[in-house]
C-alpha cells in the first residue's frame, strides 16, 4: 500500500507532539547556547496543548490545523508564526484529500516549506530550521523522482533532515536571535533545525508504520 487514510492520521500529530514534549529540556538547552533557552519550553507548550485538543482518530488535515491554531494564537515566540504557518499551509495543501500518497505528502511538505520561507525570509545556510527542512523536502522529491517507494522516500527525507540539522553546527547564524553573535554562533546545533528534524523524523516513522 502506497497511501494512508487521511481520516485517522490525526494521530501522527499526537506522535510528533510526544517527541517534542519528550525533548523539551534538550531543545531548551541547545537554544541556551546561542539563543535564549526557551525553544523546548515553548515548543512543548504548543505541541502539548495541541495534542490535548486534537482528535487522533480525525484527519491529519484537522490535526495540522489544530496545531497551527494553537501555535499561532497562543504560543507566540518565533515558533508560533513559523511553525504555525508551516502547519497551516500543510493543512491547506492536504485539504479534503481522502488518502495521502507520496505525491500528496510531497506537495504537503513543500507547501509547509514555502510557508516558512514566506514568513521568515530566511535562506538555506542561515542556520535555521530551513537547513533541516529544505534538504529534507528536496530529498523526498528526488527519491520519488528516482522511482523509489513512499517509505524509501521517507527514509531519504529523514536522513536529509538529520544531515541538514547537523550541518548547522558549522554555520554562522544569519537570521534570528543568534544572528548577532557572528563567529560565536558557530560550533553548536541550531535549535529550530533540531526540532524540525525531530518533527520530520516522527512523520516518517509514523507514516512508514501505517504504510506497512
Amino acid at each position: 500500500m502506497q497511501e494512508i487514510n487521511n481520516k485517522g492520521a490525526g494521530g501522527i500529530i499526537s506522535g510528533v507532539a510526544a517527541v517534542i514534549v519528550d525533548n523539551k529540556a534538550y531543545l531548551s538547552e541547545i537554544d541556551g547556547k546561542i539563543g535564549d533557552g526557551d525553544h523546548g519550553v515553548n515548543m512543548a507548550k504548543g505541541f502539548g496543548r495541541a495534542a490535548d485538543r486534537l482528535d487522533p482518530e480525525g484527519t491529519l488535515t484537522e490535526a495540522l490545523q489544530v496545531l497551527s491554531d494553537v501555535l499561532m494564537s497562543e504560543i507566540g515566540g518565533s515558533m508560533g508564526p513559523l511553525y504555525g504557518m508551516m502547519f497551516s499551509d500543510m493543512a491547506d495543501s492536504l485539504g479534503e484529500a481522502e488518502t495521502i500518497d507520496a505525491a500528496k505528502f510531497g506537495a504537503m511538505i513543500r507547501a509547509g516549506l514555502e510557508g516558512v520561507q514566506d514568513i521568515g525570509s530566511a535562506k538555506v545556510g542561515d542556520k535555521t530550521l530551513l537547513d533541516a527542512f529544505t534538504p529534507a523536502v528536496d530529498a523526498f522529491d528526488a527519491s520519488i523522482a528516482a522511482g523509489n517507494t513512499f517509505p524509501e522516500a521517507l527514509v531519504a527525507m529523514k536522513a536529509a533532515a538529520e544531515t541538514g540539522r547537523d550541518s548547522t553546527i558549522d554555520m554562522v547564524a544569519k537570521v534570528g536571535r543568534s544572528s548577532r553573535l557572528g563567529e560565536r554562533s558557530r560550533g553548536v546545533l541550531d535549535a529550530g533545525a533540531t526540532s524540525c528534524a525531530m518533527i520530520l523524523g516522527a512523520f516518517a516513522e509514523d507514516i512508514t508504520a501505517r504504510l506497512s
Binding site: I34, G37, D38, S78, P81, R180
Partner: protein, 341 residues
C-alpha cells in the same frame, strides 16, 4: 557546566500558570491603573489610557523582563501591553486584542524590541488590525550596541532602551499628536537611544529552573542580551568603574556628545544586582559625562527591564533635543514609572 548542575529557586506555583498568575497579581496590585481586555487574558490595558481621537500606544514582548512591559501601561505612557510567555513574543491574536483596546480611532503605534519572534507576531497582528480598519504602525527598538555593528544598526536587539522609546511615544500620543507624528517621535527616540549591558550570572526559565547559559564564577559577559543571548566578549569580572568605562566607551563611540549636549540616563538592573551596585555604576556614568561637559537632564536608576533573576546591569543614554526633552518630561503615571503630574 557547574552552573548547569544546580537549579534556581523561584517562589512560584505551577510553571504553566506563571504568566496568567503574574498578570492576576499585577492587576490586584494596580487596579487603579490596569485592567484586562479581550479573551486572550494577555492584553493589559490602562484604566484611563485609550481615549477617542488619541493615537493608541501598544507595547509588548515576552515576559521575564518585568516591569517591562505591562508595568509601562498607564496614563501618558502605553495604552495597552500584550504579554507573551517567558522570553517569547505574544501571539498575533494577543497583540491584536491589545491594539483593539488601545485604539481610539486615530490608529495605533506598536512598539517592541527587535527580535525575530516579535517582528513576526507583531507584523501579523498589524495586518489583522488593518483588516479591522485600525491603522497600525510599528517601531522596533534597536538600542543594544553590542548586538550588531553600527552599519547594521537596524539588526540590533531592543533592550532597556525600550524605556525611553515607550516614554517618548506615550507622551507624543498623550499630547494629541497625529499617528505620523507619534510614529516619528518614537523613531527619533529610537535613533537617539543606545544601550550597553553586562551580565554576571544567568537566569532560568520557570519550566526548567536551569541557568540558561553558563558563566564561570569569576566571569562576566559584556554585551549579553536580556534573554541571555551571548554578547561581545567574556572576561574576568572587573571593577564597577572599569566595566562602566567599557560600556560607556562603546556607547560614546557612536553617540555624538560634546560640551553642551544633553542626555537622559538609565542605569538598569537585570534582576539580582543590588541597587547599591547600580548606584556605583551611575556614579561613574555621571563622572564620564561630566568630564565631557555633557548635561544630564534626568537619571533613572533601578530595575526597568530585567531578565528575571539574572545579575548584571545596563547603561542607556538618550540624546535629547528640545522636543524629546519636552516629551520625556511630560507627565505619566504607570506602575513602573511616574513622571511629574
Amino acid at each position: 557546566m557547574n552552573a548547569m548542575d544546580h537549579s534556581t529557586k523561584k517562589l512560584m506555583n505551577a510553571p504553566e500558570d506563571i504568566i496568567p498568575e503574574m498578570i492576576e497579581g499585577m492587576l490586584a496590585a494596580h487596579p487603579d491603573m490596569l485592567k484586562l481586555e479581550g479573551e486572550s487574558g494577555r492584553a493589559v490595558v490602562a484604566v484611563d489610557g485609550p481615549r477617542d481621537g488619541k493615537v493608541g500606544i501598544v507595547i509588548g514582548g515576552g515576559s521575564g523582563h518585568e516591569p517591562a512591559f505591562a508595568g509601562y501601561v498607564g496614563r501618558g505612557l502605553a495604552d495597552a501591553a500584550a504579554v507573551g510567555n517567558v522570553f517569547a513574543s505574544p501571539s498575533p491574536e494577543q497583540v491584536k486584542q491589545a491594539a483593539m483596546a488601545a485604539d481610539g480611532g486615530a490608529g495605533v503605534v506598536l512598539l517592541y524590541g527587535n527580535y525575530t519572534g516579535d517582528v513576526l507576531n507583531f507584523d501579523m497582528a498589524a495586518e489583522e488590525c488593518a483588516e479591522l480598519g485600525i491603522e497600525a504602525r510599528s517601531v522596533q527598538v534597536i538600542d543594544d550596541v553590542a548586538s550588531a555593528p553600527k552599519e547594521r544598526a537596524h539588526e540590533r536587539r531592543g533592550i532597556a532602551g525600550d524605556f525611553f522609546v515607550f516614554k517618548i511615544a506615550g507622551a507624543a500620543a498623550d499630547l494629541g499628536r497625529s499617528l505620523d507624528e507619534v510614529e516619528d517621535a518614537a523613531k527619533r527616540a529610537n535613533a537617539a537611544t543606545l544601550s550597553m549591558g553586562v551580565a554576571v550570572s544567568a537566569c532560568s526559565m520557570p519550566q526548567t529552573l536551569k541557568p540558561n547559559f553558563e558563566i564561570g564564577p569569576d566571569e562576566m559577559e559584556i554585551g549579553m542580551g536580556i534573554h541571555g543571548e551571548p554578547g561581545m566578549r567574556r572576561a574576568k569580572i572587573d571593577t564597577a568603574d572599569n566595566v562602566t568605562d567599557e560600556l560607556m566607551s562603546l556607547i560614546l563611540g557612536e553617540m555624538e556628545l560634546g560640551e553642551g549636549s544633553e542626555v537622559a540616563v538609565l542605569v538598569n538592573g537585570l534582576g539580582s544586582t543590588a541597587l547599591m551596585e547600580l548606584y556605583l555604576i551611575n556614579r561613574r556614568v555621571a563622572k564620564i559625562l561630566g568630564e565631557k561637559g555633557v548635561k544630564i537632564h534626568h537619571t533613572w536608576v533601578g530595575e526597568y527591564c530585567t531578565s528575571m533573576e539574572m545579575a548584571g546591569a545596563s547603561v542607556t543614554l538618550l540624546k535629547l533635543d528640545d522636543d524629546l526633552k519636552l516629551l520625556l518630561d511630560h507627565p505619566c503615571r504607570t506602575p513602573a514609572l511616574t513622571v511629574g503630574t
